[in-house]
Protein backbone atom coordinates (compact mmCIF):
# COMPACT_ATOMS: atom_id res chain seq x y z
CA UNK A 1 0.00 0.00 0.00
CA UNK A 2 1.32 3.43 -0.94
CA UNK A 3 2.37 5.55 2.02
CA UNK A 4 0.79 8.99 1.49
CA UNK A 5 2.82 10.60 4.29
CA UNK A 6 6.27 10.00 2.90
CA UNK A 7 7.99 12.64 0.79
CA UNK A 8 10.24 11.87 -2.12
CA UNK A 9 13.53 13.74 -2.41
CA UNK A 10 13.77 16.62 -4.85
CA UNK A 11 16.90 18.56 -5.74
CA UNK A 12 16.85 22.33 -5.93
CA UNK A 13 18.30 23.00 -9.39
CA UNK A 14 18.12 26.75 -9.29
CA UNK A 15 16.64 29.65 -7.33
CA UNK A 16 15.56 32.99 -8.74
CA UNK A 17 14.74 36.03 -6.67
CA UNK A 18 11.47 37.53 -7.83
CA UNK A 19 11.20 40.25 -5.17
CA UNK A 20 13.02 40.95 -1.90
CA UNK A 21 10.93 38.27 -0.13
CA UNK A 22 9.64 36.05 -2.95
CA UNK A 23 11.79 33.46 -4.64
CA UNK A 24 11.24 30.85 -7.35
CA UNK A 25 12.69 27.39 -6.73
CA UNK A 26 13.26 25.01 -9.63
CA UNK A 27 12.95 21.45 -8.34
CA UNK A 28 13.83 18.10 -9.82
CA UNK A 29 12.03 15.33 -7.95
CA UNK A 30 13.35 11.76 -8.00
CA UNK A 31 10.03 10.71 -9.49
CA UNK A 32 7.79 12.90 -11.59
CA UNK A 33 4.97 14.61 -9.69
CA UNK A 34 2.02 14.31 -12.10
CA UNK A 35 0.37 17.59 -11.13
CA UNK A 36 -2.20 19.58 -13.07
CA UNK A 37 -2.58 23.35 -12.76
CA UNK A 38 -4.26 24.18 -9.46
CA UNK A 39 -3.13 21.08 -7.59
CA UNK A 40 -0.61 21.46 -4.80
CA UNK A 41 2.26 19.55 -3.30
CA UNK A 42 3.46 19.31 0.30
CA UNK A 43 7.01 20.59 0.50
CA UNK A 44 9.30 19.37 3.28
CA UNK A 45 12.13 21.63 4.31
CA UNK A 46 14.21 19.04 6.17
CA UNK A 47 14.26 19.82 9.85
CA UNK A 48 11.92 22.78 9.62
CA UNK A 49 8.57 21.39 8.64
CA UNK A 50 6.25 20.85 5.77
CA UNK A 51 3.85 23.22 4.03
CA UNK A 52 1.60 23.17 0.96
CA UNK A 53 2.51 25.06 -2.21
CA UNK A 54 1.08 25.06 -5.68
CA UNK A 55 3.52 24.54 -8.54
CA UNK A 56 3.79 27.67 -10.65
CA UNK A 57 5.19 26.11 -13.79
CA UNK A 58 3.35 24.49 -16.68
CA UNK A 59 1.93 21.03 -16.19
CA UNK A 60 2.99 20.27 -19.74
CA UNK A 61 6.57 19.94 -18.46
CA UNK A 62 6.94 17.93 -15.30
CA UNK A 63 10.41 16.41 -15.08
CA UNK A 64 11.24 19.59 -13.23
CA UNK A 65 8.79 22.07 -11.78
CA UNK A 66 8.88 25.49 -10.20
CA UNK A 67 7.37 26.92 -7.08
CA UNK A 68 7.35 30.60 -6.27
CA UNK A 69 7.29 31.10 -2.53
CA UNK A 70 7.13 34.03 -0.15
CA UNK A 71 9.21 34.03 3.02
CA UNK A 72 6.57 34.22 5.71
CA UNK A 73 6.87 31.50 8.37
CA UNK A 74 9.31 29.03 9.86
CA UNK A 75 9.48 26.57 6.97
CA UNK A 76 9.71 29.21 4.25
CA UNK A 77 12.39 31.13 6.14
CA UNK A 78 14.43 27.93 6.34
CA UNK A 79 13.74 27.24 2.66
CA UNK A 80 15.22 30.60 1.75
CA UNK A 81 18.43 29.44 3.41
CA UNK A 82 18.75 26.56 0.91
CA UNK A 83 20.57 26.82 -2.40
CA UNK A 84 21.01 24.95 -5.68
CA UNK A 85 22.07 21.37 -5.03
CA UNK A 86 20.26 21.09 -1.69
CA UNK A 87 17.54 18.51 -1.17
CA UNK A 88 13.94 19.04 -0.10
CA UNK A 89 11.02 16.61 0.08
CA UNK A 90 7.83 16.67 -1.96
CA UNK A 91 4.66 14.61 -1.89
CA UNK A 92 1.61 14.98 -4.03
CA UNK A 93 -0.01 16.11 -6.17
CA UNK A 94 -3.01 16.72 -3.96
CA UNK A 95 -6.32 18.51 -4.39
CA UNK A 96 -8.36 19.28 -7.45
CA UNK A 97 -6.98 20.89 -10.59
CA UNK A 98 -8.69 23.80 -12.34
CA UNK A 99 -11.50 22.23 -14.39
CA UNK A 100 -10.07 23.35 -17.72
CA UNK A 101 -12.76 21.47 -19.63
CA UNK A 102 -15.29 23.93 -18.19
CA UNK A 103 -13.14 26.86 -19.30
CA UNK A 104 -13.13 25.81 -22.98
CA UNK A 105 -14.46 28.39 -25.42
CA UNK A 106 -14.74 31.06 -22.76
CA UNK A 107 -12.99 34.22 -21.68
CA UNK A 108 -10.79 33.58 -18.65
CA UNK A 109 -10.38 36.59 -16.39
CA UNK A 110 -7.47 36.02 -13.99
CA UNK A 111 -6.89 38.34 -11.06
CA UNK A 112 -3.80 38.03 -8.92
CA UNK A 113 -2.33 39.87 -5.98
CA UNK A 114 1.25 39.67 -4.71
CA UNK A 115 2.61 36.14 -4.51
CA UNK A 116 -0.87 34.96 -5.51
CA UNK A 117 0.35 35.14 -9.09
CA UNK A 118 2.43 32.00 -8.43
CA UNK A 119 -0.31 29.37 -8.70
CA UNK A 120 -2.07 31.45 -11.36
CA UNK A 121 1.03 31.20 -13.51
CA UNK A 122 0.57 27.42 -13.77
CA UNK A 123 -2.96 28.08 -14.98
CA UNK A 124 -1.89 30.86 -17.31
CA UNK A 125 0.75 28.62 -18.90
CA UNK A 126 -1.70 25.75 -19.27
CA UNK A 127 -4.23 28.03 -20.96
CA UNK A 128 -1.78 29.71 -23.30
CA UNK A 129 -0.22 26.35 -24.20
CA UNK A 130 -3.53 25.43 -25.82
CA UNK A 131 -4.87 28.91 -26.43
CA UNK A 132 -7.06 27.75 -29.34
CA UNK A 133 -9.31 26.02 -26.83
CA UNK A 134 -10.17 29.29 -25.08
CA UNK A 135 -11.62 32.60 -26.21
CA UNK A 136 -9.26 35.05 -24.55
CA UNK A 137 -7.13 35.19 -21.41
CA UNK A 138 -7.07 38.35 -19.30
CA UNK A 139 -4.61 38.83 -16.48
CA UNK A 140 -5.05 41.59 -13.94
CA UNK A 141 -2.28 41.74 -11.39
CA UNK A 142 -1.58 44.04 -8.48
CA UNK A 143 1.50 44.26 -6.29
CA UNK A 144 2.48 46.57 -3.46
CA UNK A 145 5.27 48.37 -5.31
CA UNK A 146 6.98 47.84 -8.68
CA UNK A 147 9.73 45.95 -6.82
CA UNK A 148 7.15 43.52 -5.45
CA UNK A 149 5.96 42.34 -8.86
CA UNK A 150 6.73 38.66 -9.41
CA UNK A 151 7.71 37.34 -12.84
CA UNK A 152 8.63 40.86 -13.93
CA UNK A 153 10.95 39.47 -16.59
CA UNK A 154 8.21 37.19 -17.94
CA UNK A 155 5.28 39.59 -18.11
CA UNK A 156 6.42 41.41 -21.28
CA UNK A 157 6.75 38.03 -23.04
CA UNK A 158 3.32 36.95 -21.89
CA UNK A 159 1.77 40.15 -23.20
CA UNK A 160 2.97 39.24 -26.70
CA UNK A 161 1.08 35.93 -26.70
CA UNK A 162 -2.01 35.80 -28.91
CA UNK A 163 -5.43 36.38 -27.29
CA UNK A 164 -3.75 37.53 -24.06
CA UNK A 165 -4.48 40.87 -22.36
CA UNK A 166 -2.48 41.91 -19.30
CA UNK A 167 -2.76 44.93 -17.06
CA UNK A 168 -0.90 45.75 -13.86
CA UNK A 169 -1.23 48.04 -10.89
CA UNK A 170 0.82 48.85 -7.82
CA UNK A 171 -0.39 50.26 -4.52
CA UNK A 172 2.60 52.57 -4.28
CA UNK A 173 4.41 53.67 -7.44
CA UNK A 174 7.90 54.90 -8.12
CA UNK A 175 9.04 57.46 -10.69
CA UNK A 176 9.43 54.84 -13.43
CA UNK A 177 5.95 53.29 -13.07
CA UNK A 178 3.78 54.08 -16.09
CA UNK A 179 0.74 51.96 -15.32
CA UNK A 180 -2.10 52.28 -12.84
CA UNK A 181 -1.65 53.05 -9.16
CA UNK A 182 -4.08 51.54 -6.69
CA UNK A 183 -5.22 48.20 -5.35
CA UNK A 184 -5.93 45.58 -7.99
CA UNK A 185 -9.64 46.37 -8.16
CA UNK A 186 -8.67 49.65 -9.87
CA UNK A 187 -7.98 47.48 -12.92
CA UNK A 188 -11.50 46.09 -12.78
CA UNK A 189 -13.57 49.18 -13.34
CA UNK A 190 -14.29 47.85 -16.78
CA UNK A 191 -14.22 44.12 -17.31
CA UNK A 192 -13.91 43.46 -21.04
CA UNK A 193 -15.61 40.10 -21.15
CA UNK A 194 -19.11 38.69 -20.92
CA UNK A 195 -19.86 38.57 -17.19
CA UNK A 196 -22.61 35.99 -17.58
CA UNK A 197 -20.44 33.28 -19.12
CA UNK A 198 -16.82 34.17 -18.41
CA UNK A 199 -14.62 32.41 -15.90
CA UNK A 200 -12.85 34.42 -13.21
CA UNK A 201 -9.88 33.00 -11.33
CA UNK A 202 -8.55 34.79 -8.27
CA UNK A 203 -5.57 34.28 -5.99
CA UNK A 204 -4.02 36.70 -3.55
CA UNK A 205 -4.09 37.85 0.03
CA UNK A 206 -7.44 37.22 1.77
CA UNK A 207 -8.44 40.86 1.87
CA UNK A 208 -7.73 41.22 -1.85
CA UNK A 209 -9.73 38.06 -2.60
CA UNK A 210 -12.66 39.44 -0.66
CA UNK A 211 -12.82 42.69 -2.58
CA UNK A 212 -12.06 41.21 -5.98
CA UNK A 213 -14.75 38.60 -5.46
CA UNK A 214 -17.24 41.32 -4.53
CA UNK A 215 -16.29 43.35 -7.59
CA UNK A 216 -16.79 40.31 -9.83
CA UNK A 217 -20.19 39.63 -8.30
CA UNK A 218 -21.17 43.28 -8.71
CA UNK A 219 -20.10 43.06 -12.34
CA UNK A 220 -22.47 40.15 -12.81
CA UNK A 221 -20.15 37.13 -12.71
CA UNK A 222 -21.85 33.90 -11.71
CA UNK A 223 -20.76 32.51 -8.32
CA UNK A 224 -20.06 29.14 -9.90
CA UNK A 225 -17.71 30.79 -12.39
CA UNK A 226 -15.51 32.52 -9.81
CA UNK A 227 -12.61 30.29 -8.78
CA UNK A 228 -10.88 31.28 -5.55
CA UNK A 229 -7.67 29.85 -4.07
CA UNK A 230 -8.45 29.26 -0.42
CA UNK A 231 -5.78 29.39 2.23
CA UNK A 232 -6.16 27.11 5.23
CA UNK A 233 -3.76 25.35 7.55
CA UNK A 234 -2.95 21.90 6.20
CA UNK A 235 -1.08 18.98 7.63
CA UNK A 236 -1.81 15.71 5.84
CA UNK A 237 -2.80 17.01 2.39
CA UNK A 238 -4.83 13.86 1.79
CA UNK A 239 -8.24 14.58 3.31
CA UNK A 240 -7.71 12.98 6.70
CA UNK A 241 -6.31 15.21 9.43
CA UNK A 242 -9.09 17.81 9.22
CA UNK A 243 -6.99 20.92 9.83
CA UNK A 244 -8.04 22.51 6.55
CA UNK A 245 -11.77 22.16 7.08
CA UNK A 246 -13.61 25.09 5.53
CA UNK A 247 -17.37 24.85 5.98
CA UNK A 248 -18.37 21.55 4.39
CA UNK A 249 -15.09 21.20 2.51
CA UNK A 250 -11.60 19.94 3.13
CA UNK A 251 -9.45 22.42 1.27
CA UNK A 252 -6.78 19.80 0.64
CA UNK A 253 -9.16 17.34 -0.96
CA UNK A 254 -11.98 19.47 -2.40
CA UNK A 255 -9.81 22.54 -3.06
CA UNK A 256 -7.50 24.32 -2.77
CA UNK A 257 -9.51 26.17 -5.42
CA UNK A 258 -13.21 26.49 -4.62
CA UNK A 259 -15.87 28.52 -6.37
CA UNK A 260 -17.76 31.33 -4.74
CA UNK A 261 -20.94 29.30 -5.19
CA UNK A 262 -19.37 26.64 -2.97
CA UNK A 263 -18.17 28.90 -0.17
CA UNK A 264 -20.67 31.77 -0.14
CA UNK A 265 -22.48 30.53 2.99
CA UNK A 266 -19.33 30.07 5.04
CA UNK A 267 -18.77 32.64 7.74
CA UNK A 268 -15.71 34.79 6.92
CA UNK A 269 -14.18 32.52 4.27
CA UNK A 270 -11.41 35.03 3.62
CA UNK A 271 -9.40 34.94 6.85
Amino acid sequence: MKNPYEAIPATILKTMDETPNIRTFVLKPEQEIPFLAGQFVELTVPGFGEAPFTPSSSHFKRDTFEMTIMKVGKATTALFGLKAGDTVGVRGPFGQPYPLEKFAGKDIYIVGGGVGLAPLRALFLALTHEIDKYKRVFLRYGARTPNDIVYRHLLPEWQKLPKVDIDLSVDVSDEKWMKKVGVVTCLMEEIPCDEKTSIAVVCGPPIMMKFVNQRLLDAGFQGGNIYLSMETNMSCGVGQCRHCRLGPYLTCKDGPVLTWAQIKDIENPFV
Binding site: N3, P4, E6, T44, P46, H243
Partner: protein, 346 residues
Protein backbone atom coordinates in the same frame (compact mmCIF):
# COMPACT_ATOMS: atom_id res chain seq x y z
CA UNK B 1 -21.05 -10.59 11.29
CA UNK B 2 -22.39 -12.98 8.73
CA UNK B 3 -22.76 -16.43 10.22
CA UNK B 4 -23.41 -16.50 13.92
CA UNK B 5 -22.18 -19.55 15.67
CA UNK B 6 -23.32 -19.55 19.27
CA UNK B 7 -21.09 -21.18 21.84
CA UNK B 8 -20.57 -21.31 25.57
CA UNK B 9 -17.36 -21.45 27.54
CA UNK B 10 -17.87 -22.56 31.12
CA UNK B 11 -16.35 -20.20 33.66
CA UNK B 12 -13.90 -22.85 34.88
CA UNK B 13 -12.40 -23.14 31.37
CA UNK B 14 -11.89 -19.43 30.80
CA UNK B 15 -8.23 -19.20 31.71
CA UNK B 16 -7.36 -22.26 29.66
CA UNK B 17 -8.88 -20.55 26.66
CA UNK B 18 -6.97 -17.33 27.30
CA UNK B 19 -3.73 -19.30 27.55
CA UNK B 20 -4.49 -20.93 24.23
CA UNK B 21 -5.09 -17.52 22.66
CA UNK B 22 -1.75 -16.34 24.03
CA UNK B 23 0.02 -19.09 22.11
CA UNK B 24 -0.77 -17.32 18.88
CA UNK B 25 -1.73 -13.72 19.60
CA UNK B 26 -1.11 -10.77 21.80
CA UNK B 27 -4.17 -10.60 24.02
CA UNK B 28 -5.47 -7.47 25.69
CA UNK B 29 -8.16 -7.47 28.36
CA UNK B 30 -9.87 -4.78 30.39
CA UNK B 31 -8.74 -5.01 34.01
CA UNK B 32 -10.06 -3.23 37.07
CA UNK B 33 -7.41 -1.14 38.80
CA UNK B 34 -8.85 0.36 41.96
CA UNK B 35 -12.08 1.81 40.60
CA UNK B 36 -11.17 2.27 36.95
CA UNK B 37 -10.87 -0.12 34.06
CA UNK B 38 -7.74 -0.05 31.94
CA UNK B 39 -6.51 -2.20 29.09
CA UNK B 40 -3.82 -4.66 30.02
CA UNK B 41 -1.67 -6.82 27.79
CA UNK B 42 -2.27 -10.26 29.18
CA UNK B 43 0.77 -12.15 30.37
CA UNK B 44 0.61 -15.90 30.91
CA UNK B 45 1.66 -15.25 34.52
CA UNK B 46 -1.52 -13.20 34.95
CA UNK B 47 -3.39 -16.47 34.81
CA UNK B 48 -1.45 -18.19 37.55
CA UNK B 49 -3.59 -19.14 40.54
CA UNK B 50 -3.77 -16.23 42.93
CA UNK B 51 -2.61 -13.61 40.39
CA UNK B 52 -6.02 -12.05 40.72
CA UNK B 53 -6.22 -10.77 37.17
CA UNK B 54 -9.37 -11.39 35.18
CA UNK B 55 -11.23 -9.59 32.39
CA UNK B 56 -13.49 -6.96 33.97
CA UNK B 57 -16.33 -7.50 31.56
CA UNK B 58 -19.21 -6.30 33.69
CA UNK B 59 -17.73 -2.80 33.94
CA UNK B 60 -18.08 0.02 31.43
CA UNK B 61 -15.46 0.76 28.79
CA UNK B 62 -11.80 1.16 29.78
CA UNK B 63 -10.36 4.63 30.27
CA UNK B 64 -8.25 4.29 27.11
CA UNK B 65 -10.22 4.48 23.85
CA UNK B 66 -9.84 1.38 21.70
CA UNK B 67 -8.85 3.54 18.73
CA UNK B 68 -5.44 3.86 20.44
CA UNK B 69 -4.63 0.31 19.37
CA UNK B 70 -5.10 1.04 15.68
CA UNK B 71 -4.71 4.81 15.43
CA UNK B 72 -1.79 5.15 17.78
CA UNK B 73 -1.35 8.39 19.73
CA UNK B 74 2.13 8.55 18.24
CA UNK B 75 3.11 6.63 15.15
CA UNK B 76 6.13 6.92 12.94
CA UNK B 77 4.69 7.12 9.43
CA UNK B 78 7.66 8.01 7.32
CA UNK B 79 11.35 8.66 6.96
CA UNK B 80 13.35 10.96 4.71
CA UNK B 81 15.23 10.72 2.45
CA UNK B 82 15.12 6.92 2.67
CA UNK B 83 11.77 5.18 3.12
CA UNK B 84 10.37 3.71 6.29
CA UNK B 85 10.17 -0.07 6.31
CA UNK B 86 7.12 -0.75 8.45
CA UNK B 87 7.16 -3.88 10.58
CA UNK B 88 4.21 -6.22 10.18
CA UNK B 89 2.30 -5.96 13.46
CA UNK B 90 1.58 -9.18 15.39
CA UNK B 91 -2.04 -10.22 15.55
CA UNK B 92 -3.84 -9.06 18.62
CA UNK B 93 -7.04 -10.02 20.28
CA UNK B 94 -8.88 -7.27 22.11
CA UNK B 95 -11.22 -9.11 24.38
CA UNK B 96 -13.98 -7.03 25.93
CA UNK B 97 -14.55 -4.09 23.55
CA UNK B 98 -17.71 -2.16 24.43
CA UNK B 99 -20.04 -0.95 21.72
CA UNK B 100 -19.12 2.68 22.44
CA UNK B 101 -15.55 1.82 21.39
CA UNK B 102 -16.55 -0.42 18.51
CA UNK B 103 -18.78 2.07 16.70
CA UNK B 104 -16.06 4.77 16.67
CA UNK B 105 -13.82 2.48 14.64
CA UNK B 106 -16.27 3.08 11.79
CA UNK B 107 -15.37 6.76 12.03
CA UNK B 108 -11.70 5.93 11.66
CA UNK B 109 -12.40 3.46 8.87
CA UNK B 110 -14.19 6.20 6.95
CA UNK B 111 -11.32 8.65 7.30
CA UNK B 112 -8.27 6.42 7.19
CA UNK B 113 -9.26 3.55 4.90
CA UNK B 114 -12.25 4.49 2.76
CA UNK B 115 -10.88 7.52 0.93
CA UNK B 116 -8.56 7.85 -2.05
CA UNK B 117 -5.56 7.92 0.29
CA UNK B 118 -5.29 5.22 2.92
CA UNK B 119 -3.29 5.18 6.11
CA UNK B 120 -1.20 2.02 5.70
CA UNK B 121 -0.38 1.89 9.42
CA UNK B 122 -4.00 2.02 10.53
CA UNK B 123 -4.99 -0.47 7.85
CA UNK B 124 -2.30 -2.94 8.96
CA UNK B 125 -3.16 -2.65 12.65
CA UNK B 126 -6.87 -2.91 12.02
CA UNK B 127 -6.29 -6.02 9.92
CA UNK B 128 -4.18 -7.58 12.62
CA UNK B 129 -6.66 -6.99 15.41
CA UNK B 130 -9.43 -9.41 16.28
CA UNK B 131 -12.20 -7.57 18.07
CA UNK B 132 -14.18 -9.41 20.70
CA UNK B 133 -17.03 -7.22 21.83
CA UNK B 134 -18.51 -7.58 25.28
CA UNK B 135 -21.94 -6.56 26.55
CA UNK B 136 -22.05 -3.60 28.89
CA UNK B 137 -24.50 -4.76 31.54
CA UNK B 138 -24.08 -2.01 34.12
CA UNK B 139 -24.07 1.48 32.58
CA UNK B 140 -22.78 4.31 34.73
CA UNK B 141 -24.01 7.87 35.19
CA UNK B 142 -21.61 9.17 32.52
CA UNK B 143 -22.90 6.76 29.83
CA UNK B 144 -25.17 8.07 27.07
CA UNK B 145 -24.93 5.69 24.12
CA UNK B 146 -28.73 5.50 24.11
CA UNK B 147 -28.96 9.18 23.15
CA UNK B 148 -26.98 8.35 20.01
CA UNK B 149 -29.31 5.49 19.15
CA UNK B 150 -26.74 2.89 20.18
CA UNK B 151 -27.12 -0.16 22.37
CA UNK B 152 -24.94 -1.27 25.31
CA UNK B 153 -24.04 -4.39 23.36
CA UNK B 154 -22.52 -4.85 19.92
CA UNK B 155 -24.77 -5.28 16.94
CA UNK B 156 -22.12 -5.26 14.22
CA UNK B 157 -18.48 -4.53 13.62
CA UNK B 158 -17.06 -7.17 15.96
CA UNK B 159 -15.43 -10.48 15.08
CA UNK B 160 -17.09 -12.09 18.07
CA UNK B 161 -19.54 -10.92 20.71
CA UNK B 162 -19.11 -12.08 24.25
CA UNK B 163 -21.71 -12.00 27.01
CA UNK B 164 -21.34 -13.25 30.55
CA UNK B 165 -24.28 -15.29 31.70
CA UNK B 166 -24.27 -17.12 35.01
CA UNK B 167 -20.50 -16.76 35.01
CA UNK B 168 -20.12 -18.59 31.70
CA UNK B 169 -18.97 -16.87 28.56
CA UNK B 170 -21.48 -16.92 25.74
CA UNK B 171 -19.80 -16.29 22.43
CA UNK B 172 -21.31 -15.45 19.07
CA UNK B 173 -18.63 -15.74 16.48
CA UNK B 174 -18.41 -14.42 12.98
CA UNK B 175 -16.10 -15.62 10.27
CA UNK B 176 -12.98 -14.13 11.72
CA UNK B 177 -13.86 -14.87 15.33
CA UNK B 178 -13.98 -18.55 14.53
CA UNK B 179 -10.22 -18.86 14.88
CA UNK B 180 -10.56 -17.92 18.54
CA UNK B 181 -12.81 -20.90 19.07
CA UNK B 182 -10.62 -23.09 16.90
CA UNK B 183 -7.72 -22.35 19.25
CA UNK B 184 -9.38 -24.62 21.81
CA UNK B 185 -12.51 -26.15 20.32
CA UNK B 186 -12.86 -28.74 23.09
CA UNK B 187 -13.48 -26.06 25.69
CA UNK B 188 -16.64 -24.81 24.01
CA UNK B 189 -20.17 -26.16 24.00
CA UNK B 190 -22.77 -25.51 21.33
CA UNK B 191 -25.66 -23.49 22.67
CA UNK B 192 -29.24 -24.03 21.56
CA UNK B 193 -31.81 -21.29 21.22
CA UNK B 194 -33.66 -22.64 24.20
CA UNK B 195 -30.64 -22.48 26.51
CA UNK B 196 -31.48 -20.59 29.69
CA UNK B 197 -28.23 -18.67 29.46
CA UNK B 198 -29.44 -16.99 26.27
CA UNK B 199 -32.61 -15.83 27.95
CA UNK B 200 -30.58 -14.55 30.87
CA UNK B 201 -28.24 -12.68 28.56
CA UNK B 202 -31.19 -11.05 26.82
CA UNK B 203 -32.66 -10.04 30.17
CA UNK B 204 -29.34 -8.51 31.10
CA UNK B 205 -29.29 -6.54 27.87
CA UNK B 206 -32.81 -5.28 28.43
CA UNK B 207 -31.91 -4.21 31.95
CA UNK B 208 -28.91 -2.28 30.64
CA UNK B 209 -31.06 -0.51 28.05
CA UNK B 210 -33.57 0.34 30.78
CA UNK B 211 -30.81 1.67 33.00
CA UNK B 212 -29.60 3.94 30.21
CA UNK B 213 -33.12 5.25 29.75
CA UNK B 214 -33.21 6.12 33.43
CA UNK B 215 -29.81 7.85 33.25
CA UNK B 216 -30.71 9.75 30.06
CA UNK B 217 -34.51 9.87 29.87
CA UNK B 218 -34.88 12.80 27.50
CA UNK B 219 -33.87 12.31 23.86
CA UNK B 220 -32.04 15.05 22.01
CA UNK B 221 -33.49 17.02 19.16
CA UNK B 222 -34.40 14.40 16.53
CA UNK B 223 -32.65 16.49 13.87
CA UNK B 224 -29.57 17.14 15.91
CA UNK B 225 -27.32 17.79 12.90
CA UNK B 226 -29.55 20.62 11.72
CA UNK B 227 -30.00 21.98 15.25
CA UNK B 228 -26.22 22.14 15.79
CA UNK B 229 -25.69 23.69 12.35
CA UNK B 230 -28.28 26.34 13.15
CA UNK B 231 -26.17 27.41 16.14
CA UNK B 232 -22.99 27.57 14.06
CA UNK B 233 -22.70 31.33 14.32
CA UNK B 234 -24.45 31.83 17.68
CA UNK B 235 -21.45 32.62 19.85
CA UNK B 236 -23.50 33.51 22.91
CA UNK B 237 -24.88 29.98 22.99
CA UNK B 238 -21.44 28.36 22.91
CA UNK B 239 -19.82 30.97 25.12
CA UNK B 240 -21.78 30.10 28.23
CA UNK B 241 -20.43 26.55 28.08
CA UNK B 242 -17.00 27.44 26.71
CA UNK B 243 -16.37 29.75 29.65
CA UNK B 244 -15.98 26.72 31.90
CA UNK B 245 -13.33 25.11 29.70
CA UNK B 246 -9.75 25.27 30.94
CA UNK B 247 -8.36 24.12 27.56
CA UNK B 248 -6.77 20.94 28.90
CA UNK B 249 -8.01 19.02 25.81
CA UNK B 250 -8.73 15.96 27.96
CA UNK B 251 -12.09 15.60 26.22
CA UNK B 252 -10.42 15.32 22.84
CA UNK B 253 -7.54 13.09 23.89
CA UNK B 254 -9.91 10.62 25.53
CA UNK B 255 -12.46 10.68 22.72
CA UNK B 256 -12.83 7.37 20.88
CA UNK B 257 -13.93 9.05 17.65
CA UNK B 258 -11.67 12.12 17.34
CA UNK B 259 -9.33 11.49 14.46
CA UNK B 260 -7.53 14.80 13.88
CA UNK B 261 -3.81 14.41 13.64
CA UNK B 262 -0.66 16.33 12.93
CA UNK B 263 2.39 15.25 10.98
CA UNK B 264 5.72 16.49 12.24
CA UNK B 265 9.33 15.71 11.55
CA UNK B 266 12.12 14.92 13.95
CA UNK B 267 15.71 15.34 12.85
CA UNK B 268 17.88 12.26 13.07
CA UNK B 269 21.61 12.11 12.56
CA UNK B 270 21.00 11.63 8.87
CA UNK B 271 17.55 12.55 7.67
CA UNK B 272 14.14 12.78 9.26
CA UNK B 273 11.53 10.68 10.99
CA UNK B 274 7.97 11.70 10.24
CA UNK B 275 5.54 11.13 13.08
CA UNK B 276 1.77 11.27 13.18
CA UNK B 277 0.40 12.44 16.55
CA UNK B 278 -3.14 13.03 17.71
CA UNK B 279 -4.10 16.66 17.46
CA UNK B 280 -6.90 18.62 19.09
CA UNK B 281 -9.10 21.21 17.41
CA UNK B 282 -9.21 23.16 20.70
CA UNK B 283 -5.55 24.10 20.28
CA UNK B 284 -5.09 27.72 19.22
CA UNK B 285 -2.62 26.81 16.47
CA UNK B 286 -4.83 24.12 14.99
CA UNK B 287 -6.19 26.18 12.09
CA UNK B 288 -3.61 28.96 12.09
CA UNK B 289 -1.84 29.45 8.76
CA UNK B 290 1.80 30.24 8.09
CA UNK B 291 1.31 33.99 8.00
CA UNK B 292 -0.46 33.97 11.37
CA UNK B 293 -4.10 34.38 10.29
CA UNK B 294 -6.49 32.15 12.20
CA UNK B 295 -10.14 31.51 11.35
CA UNK B 296 -10.79 30.31 14.90
CA UNK B 297 -8.57 32.62 16.91
CA UNK B 298 -11.15 33.00 19.69
CA UNK B 299 -11.63 29.94 21.87
CA UNK B 300 -15.41 30.08 21.62
CA UNK B 301 -15.13 29.36 17.89
CA UNK B 302 -12.92 26.37 18.55
CA UNK B 303 -15.31 25.14 21.22
CA UNK B 304 -18.26 25.35 18.83
CA UNK B 305 -16.20 23.69 16.10
CA UNK B 306 -15.91 20.49 18.14
CA UNK B 307 -19.69 20.16 18.38
CA UNK B 308 -20.23 21.15 14.76
CA UNK B 309 -17.69 18.57 13.64
CA UNK B 310 -19.08 15.70 15.68
CA UNK B 311 -22.78 16.29 15.36
CA UNK B 312 -23.26 18.18 12.11
CA UNK B 313 -20.36 17.93 9.67
CA UNK B 314 -19.59 14.26 10.24
CA UNK B 315 -23.24 13.34 10.09
CA UNK B 316 -23.65 15.25 6.83
CA UNK B 317 -20.49 13.80 5.33
CA UNK B 318 -20.72 10.21 6.52
CA UNK B 319 -24.25 9.60 7.77
CA UNK B 320 -23.22 9.05 11.38
CA UNK B 321 -22.36 11.09 14.45
CA UNK B 322 -18.72 11.21 15.50
CA UNK B 323 -19.74 10.39 19.05
CA UNK B 324 -20.71 7.11 20.69
CA UNK B 325 -21.81 8.30 24.11
CA UNK B 326 -18.89 6.77 26.01
CA UNK B 327 -18.78 9.71 28.43
CA UNK B 328 -14.99 9.98 28.58
CA UNK B 329 -15.09 13.68 27.63
CA UNK B 330 -17.39 14.42 30.53
CA UNK B 331 -15.38 12.32 32.99
CA UNK B 332 -12.16 14.05 31.95
CA UNK B 333 -13.56 17.57 32.08
CA UNK B 334 -12.18 19.79 34.83
CA UNK B 335 -14.80 22.39 34.02
CA UNK B 336 -17.56 19.78 34.33
CA UNK B 337 -18.89 20.51 30.88
CA UNK B 338 -21.38 17.76 30.18
CA UNK B 339 -21.74 17.29 26.44
CA UNK B 340 -25.25 15.91 27.06
CA UNK B 341 -26.41 19.12 28.67
CA UNK B 342 -24.99 21.27 25.88
CA UNK B 343 -26.80 19.22 23.25
CA UNK B 344 -29.98 18.98 25.31
CA UNK B 345 -30.36 22.74 24.93
CA UNK B 346 -30.68 22.44 21.16
Amino acid sequence: MQSLDRLALPEAQRDQWLLKLLDKHLVYIPVLYEDRVHWRRLDPADLNPGAGIAPALRRIRASEPVKSFMFNPRQQVGAFPEKLDPAEPRTRVLLGVKNCDLVPLKVHDRILTDGEFKDPFYVAQRKNTILVAADCPVPEESCFCNLLGLTPFATDGADAVLSVSDGDYLLEVGERGQELVDAAPDLFQKVDDGDGRIAKRDEGRKAAVAALSRINPKPWNPDLAAAVAAKRKDESFWRKHAEKCVECFGCLMGCPTCYCYLLYDQVREKGLDRTRVWDACYLAAYARVGGGANPRAEFVKRFANRFICKFSDFKNDHGMFACSGCGRCFKACMGKIDIRKVLAEL
